[in-house]
């Protein structure tokens, strides 16, 4: 069977994985017509898998959202003491806006799914009604994403004229 396990995490050449294995298989299996039919069916499966993985790969490489970047920067500032309350406070102090805790947690979940953040559950405390804190920490991949966003913003900012009009 030519079904290739293309569910590889973080591989740069994800899209190439399938076709390379397909080529080596093709040189070995070039005899029977029956096998060719099977291969054609498998090729379709392979292409389908690759397409899905290319989309997944692109989704992982998408730009950080504005709020995602704020949350990551708050994590960088807070280091080991980053849980919901200080993260929200850091963003509120910086932006001057009230932050919904639900949005913070949804964003942290999404960032964890992308591998940019990792979490650890702490001990429950009485002041929190017996509920545990979840501490968050930025991963090396997350730091790279922040640096990339910073470089992108600086480059764009340098090339842009001074904004005029509007208030504040």
């Amino acid at each position: 069977m030519l079904i290739v396990n293309t569910y590889l995490e973080g591989a740069e050449g994800l899209a190439l994985q399938g076709p390379l294995q397909l080529r080596s298989q093709r040189s070995r299996e070039n005899h029977s017509a029956k096998r060719n039919v099977t291969r054609r069916v498998d090729l379709l499966k392979l292409t389908g898998h690759n397409l899905i993985n290319i989309v997944r790969y692109m989704a992982r490489r998408e730009f950080l959202g504005g709020f995602e970047l704020l949350v990551l920067l708050a994590l960088v500032r807070l280091d080991d003491e980053a849980y919901g309350v200080p993260i929200a406070k850091a963003i509120e102090e910086s932006s001057g806006r009230d932050v919904a805790m639900g949005s913070v947690y949804v964003t942290l979940d999404r960032l964890e799914g992308k591998g940019l953040v990792r979490s650890q559950v702490g001990e429950p405390t009485a002041v929190r009604g017996g509920r545990a804190k979840t501490y968050f920490q930025i991963t090396p991949q997350g730091l790279r994403a922040v640096r990339h966003a910073q470089r992108t913003l600086i480059k764009l900012w340098q090339g842009a004229p001074q904004p005029r009009g509007g208030s504040a």
Binding site: Y83, A100, M101, G102, S103, T125, R131
Partner: protein
């Protein structure tokens, strides 16, 4: 720091309707901030925002499930209308025979006799359909049930609007009609949602175990 309990109803809602694996941590954060001096209004706003954000996130992440939930829910809602219509007719006849002392101009008597028995059956059917949708989408039941409830709301609004547009002026509109229309639009979706919550109530056992101390 105050040692006060946060609004109980808001906490009750948060424990049941905030989705996601970090519900307990989020609620702990809200309680911590409330005890640091945030207001009750702030607490309520945060809980409602957390519920809405969770629903939006679940729907955006599980579009196929959302489509399935609405399809199953509305199909059940439609299919249940047949036995409900049949049973509603029987109930109406029974009530008409029992309630013999109804004055012709007695508005509430007419309302009870003609409408309520059938309407109650519809609420039960709606609740059952909501329960089935919640059970079938157990992991994301809040989002899927909310979407199905919203679709019932839209459907009923459309039906009431359509019926109102079909009513030609020479036919006198009963005084019962506006009340039934309101019940239809508000209570039917509500019965769907309550039925869904009822169906997954067994999951709340773990919630009670970690009730606020």
């Amino acid at each position: 720091m105050r040692d006060q309990q946060p609004p109980r109803v808001a906490t009750w809602l948060a424990l049941r309707l905030v989705s996601g694996p970090r519900r307990e941590s989020l609620l702990g954060d809200l309680i911590e901030q409330y005890r640091q001096g945030r207001s009750g209004i702030w607490y309520w706003r945060q809980v409602l925002a957390a519920i809405l954000v969770g629903i939006a996130h679940d729907l955006a992440s599980h579009k196929t499930l959302a489509l399935r939930a609405v399809t199953i829910g509305l199909t059940l809602y439609y299919l249940f209308s047949f036995p409900v219509t049949w049973a509603g007719g029987i109930a109406e006849n029974w009530v008409s025979q029992q309630v013999i002392l109804c004055e012709p101009d007695s508005f509430w008597c007419q309302f009870w006799r003609n409408q309520l028995s059938a309407e109650l059956l519809i609420y039960v059917a709606g609740a059952v359909s909501g329960g089935i949708v919640a059970r079938l989408h157990h992991k994301h039941w809040v989002a899927m049930l909310s979407l199905y409830t919203a679709s019932v709301l839209v459907f009923e609004c459309g039906m009431v609007g359509w019926i109102a547009s079909q009513t030609v002026s020479p036919i006198p509109i009963s005084r019962v009609a506006p009340i039934v229309a309101n019940l239809t639009v508000v209570v039917r979706p509500l019965s769907v949602f309550v039925g869904g919550i009822w169906a997954v109530r067994s999951d709340f056992g773990s919630v009670h175990a970690t009730a606020i101390q």
